[in-house]
Each structure stands twice: as C-alpha cells, then as structure tokens.
Amino acid sequence: MTPIITVRNLTKTFKVFHDHKGYFGALRNLFDRKFKLIEAVYQINFTITAGELVGYIGPNGAGKSTTIKMLTGLLVPTSGELRVNGYIPWKDRRKYVKYIGAVFGQRTTLWWDLPVCDSLNLIKHIYEIEETQFRKNLGIFREILDLDTFMETPVRSLSLGQRMRADLCAALLHDPTLVFLDEPTIGLDVVAKQRIRDFIQFINQEKHTTILLTTHDISDVAKLCERVIIIDLGKILFDGKLETLLKTFGGRRLLSVDFAEAYLKPVLENAEIISIQGSKVLYSFERDVVSASNLINQLSTKYRILDLEVHDQPIEDTIREIYEKQLLYNQPHAEKNFTS
C-alpha cells in the first residue's frame, strides 16, 4: 500500500494583524502593523493510502481548512514535511494540481454567468481532458448527480444543492487521483445530501479515487468513512476507525419512559436521570453495566408506566461531547503577542 499523502510534523503559524482603519488605513497597513502569532496547525502527522476515504473532522477554527489549504498548495507550511502524490504542493503547484480535485462547499469554481454545460466545457479545455474521457465521465456523473434538469441554467440561478452537484461534477471530470471535499453537504436537504453521498461513494469505490472529506455533518462521516481523523485547536486528537471512537466514548444508551403518574424521583439502579418533564423521564446507561431488560424489570416492579423506548445515543452527541468536554485533549493552546 503506497501512501498518497504523507504529513510529518506539519505546523502552520499565522500572523494575525490588527489593521488600521480610516482614510489612510490601507496605506498605513503597508508599513506599520501589529500582529500576534497563532498556531493554526501544530505538529500534525498522518498518512493516507491510495484509495482511502477519510473523514477529517473538528469544530470551527480547529485547523481543518488550514490543513486542506496546505495540502492543496494554497498555503506554505511554517515547518514540517508534506508530500502529496510525490509532489510538494506549494512548490510544484502547476504540475501538482492536474492530479487533484477540490470542492469547497462555500465557493464555486464555476463561471457565475455561464450555463453549467459551458462551464463544464471550459473545465474540459483547462484540464485538457480527452473528448472520449470527457463524454464518458459526464455521462456517468450527470446520471448519478441528476444534472440534466439544470444543464442549461446559468450558475448564478442554481439552488445551493444544484450548484454543489455541478461543482462536484466539474471537480472530477479530469479523473483526479486525489480529491479534497470541504463541506460538500453544507446547507443541503436530505435528498440532495444522499445524492452527493452516493456520488462520493461511487468515485471512491468504482474509480478508486482517494478522498479526504472535511465536514461538520458527522452523519456524512458515519455513512461514508471507515477512518476518521479528528483535529481540534490545531492538533490531531484521534486517527482511527469511527467504531473504535464510538466504542470508547459512545456506548451509552438512552431510555425514555412515560410514567402513568408523575413521580418525584423515579430512581433506577445503574441508570442516570438526564431529564424529568412531568411524567416523562429520560435515563442514560452504559451497555456494559446494565442491560435494558434489567432496567425495564426494575421499572415495572416499582412504578406504573405507560410507554418506554430504548435507543443509542446519536453519534452527533458523542462527538459533541468529545469536543465540549475535551475528552481527547489535555494541553493548553499556545498564543503569543508580537509587535513589528
């Protein structure tokens, strides 16, 4: 298995400037600026093998975008080593970008005023895609992404979901070996999300494209990625299978009970009361400590109940807990002040 991305002790420090405002502010900024240094990414390491589909997640400001921008060559690392597909991205930009595709959910690479088909045609010429390859890929993509209804529509009048589908198509027409997807499902409805997930799965499985998927939507990761990398405050907190993560930190189950009357404190052994709302009570318990049937037994012997339901704690909640309680994290973040 050959690694396609190798990242060693990668660090990116930003100077954050306090700009002068007012009439000559822009001019003064050229000569005299105060700044502080922020380590957006600090000493991170990982390797990604050809053909993998990896989820890269973390809360806002964790360093996800900074990492992606270094991987795509838009940012020069402050220190550390970075190799993608045999290239050093920021040095070999023009040669390197031929082999990658990138979709930034918030922005479009398409031409705002042109119909989708014209945009795709320009992409064909920019990447020098062979006619047969172009036709073949476009044929497959327009079916999976359902592009036909808006092929003639100018990009500016597309809905967010349509634009995202068109952007995904544009980024993959040249058969890149590696694709960076940054928030490809942001702000989309369930149906559009599913189409995009199907597409991602298709290019990974059928075309063996390596994919690094950055997202806030943990259900994207749960549905698509075996491996997940979690970054927060510029450091990698976890790199491994999502299952492992959930086993370690999730594992909790929820039991919601609707009692026949409002009890003051309906205690159950080995279960924790999370909330009480009138006659409705929500418990949480560890799968390994106590079984659901045991709890139901306790309930029916001690109390009168109307209804009950048992389910797993949603993945979103588990991940949120990891972020909020900083379960994976134990070092304070570095921040220094400087004046030029």
Binding site: T72, R94, T109, D118
Partner: protein, 269 residues
C-alpha cells in the same frame, strides 16, 4: 503558448457570448455610457471655443490627444479588466483567486481571461469619434512616420494603462482593499493625458514625468505629430520613446506582479 492563447480566446469568447445574451439592454448600456462620457468633452469644447485655445492648442488639437487617450483607456479597460482592482480585490478577499490557483493553467492568463468587459465599447467608440473629429480639424503633415506612429502610440498607451492596472492589482495582495491613492495615477493619469501637459503646474508635471511617465505617451508624441512648439524645450527624441516607456513600465509591472504571486498566501479559513 499556443494552447494558452487558444484557452484565453475561449475564456474571453464565452464571456462575450454571455454578455450579449440580452442584445437590446447591452446596446442601450453602450449608448448611455458613450453619451455620458462625451458630455465631458462637449462641455470642455464649449469653454475652449469661447477662449479659442488652451496653452496655444486649439480645439482640434486637444480633441486629438483627448480622443486618443479615451480610446486607449477604454480598450485597456476592456482587455485588462481582470486586473481592475475593484474586481481583483474582492477576487482575493472572497477566495476566488484560490480557485484559479487550483487550476493547472498560468495564473496571469487566468486573471486576464477571468473578466472581459465588452461594455467598454461605449467609451472606446466615444474616444474614436472625438479623435477623428480632432483629426478632421487639424491639418496633419502626413509622413510615413506619422502614419505608422499613431497605431504604435495607441498600443503603447494601452500597455501603459494596463501596466498601471497590474501594479494596482498587485498591491491588493497585501492591502486586500484597494488603495484609493492609486486612482490618482490610473484615472488621474488618463485625465491629465487628455490635455496638453505644459499647461499644468510644474509639480504635477514632474509627477507625471518621473513617477508615472504619462507625459511621454501623449503630450510629447503629439508635439511631434501636430508640429507644435514645445514650451518645455525638451529634446526632440522624447517624442519617440512612448513604446520604450510603456514596455519598460510593463516589464516592471509584470515583475512586481510575479513577486506578488510568489509571496501570495491564502487565508487560514
């Protein structure tokens, strides 16, 4: 090179097509802008007709340099509009420039091809009319050199203004916002080039000789073509260095631009 030119052609072509999507509104826009722009000249002409001349130059002679400058600036503004910092600043700020960097094509070519404002035809047309009016009024002593020099001069002016646009765009790599002060050189420069430059105070003339060498692109060449006496008493050779000046400025502008690209770094978000 061949491939780059084909691609540039394609990029521009497709924009022209989309701008012509609504031909009537496009035509009205051009007509409107041409009319508005020509009022500047008409009001100036009304004044100069009253006083008969300005600094020894009559209406036809001023129309000659005025029209040529308007024509060249309009042409430049159409071709180099990707470098217009009112457009280029937001391109950087909103991260669209990053998208261009992710494509395997020369970045200068992409910026050049990213915007082509066909509407500028209004200004170009208006400039051409004023220029031809000027030509009809002045009796030029046509020699082969004078005939050849006029198109060379126009190309030089286009490159000259284009270089100023490139320099302006490059500064936004650092400032992110446009530097209002640069308008003095671009739009101010084209304004000043529309008049015989010896009428301006010495300080202004010096700025537009040594900092932004606009004087070599309109006043001095016009002195030669129109056979005017030059109260500045400059050596005759300065009438002929317009192409050289614009090429040197273009070289400087492209060096600065490449330096900017090389040092450009995206934001962290």
């Amino acid at each position: 090179m061949q491939r780059n030119l084909t691609l540039l052609h394609r990029l521009i072509n497709i924009q022209i097509r989309s701008q012509l999507q609504y031909p009537f509104s496009f035509f009205m826009e051009i007509l409107g802008s041409a009319l508005i722009q020509s009022f500047f000249f008409i009001s100036f002409a009304l004044v100069i007709v009253r006083f008969e001349e300005i600094g020894g130059w009559n209406l036809g002679e001023v129309a000659f340099i005025w029209g040529m400058t308007e024509f060249s600036f309009g042409l430049m503004d159409m071709i180099f509009s990707g470098f217009d910092y009112d457009y280029f600043g937001p391109l950087i700020r909103l991260g669209r420039f990053d998208q261009l960097l992710l494509r395997p094509v020369n970045i200068t070519l992409q910026v050049l091809g990213s915007r082509f404002v066909l509407r500028r035809i209004g200004k170009i047309f208006q400039g051409a009319v004023i220029f031809l009016f000027g030509l009809s009024q002045v009796g030029v002593n046509w020699t082969p050199l004078r005939i050849i020099y006029i198109p060379i001069l126009i190309i030089s002016q286009v490159l000259f203004f284009g270089s100023l646009f490139i320099i302006g765009a490059t500064t936004t790599f650092w400032t992110m916002e446009r530097l209002e002060i640069l308008n003095i050189f671009t739009y101010g420069g084209s304004e000043i080039m529309s008049y015989p430059m010896h009428i301006f105070p010495r300080a202004i003339r010096l700025i537009f000789t040594y900092i932004v060498p606009a004087i070599f692109l309109s006043y001095f060449p016009a002195v030669f073509i129109l056979e005017k006496t030059d109260p500045l008493n400059a050596p005759r050779i300065v009438s002929f260095i317009a192409p050289l000046v614009s090429l040197i400025l273009l070289w400087i502008a492209l060096r600065f631009w490449r330096y900017g690209i090389k040092n450009y770094q995206s934001s962290g978000s």
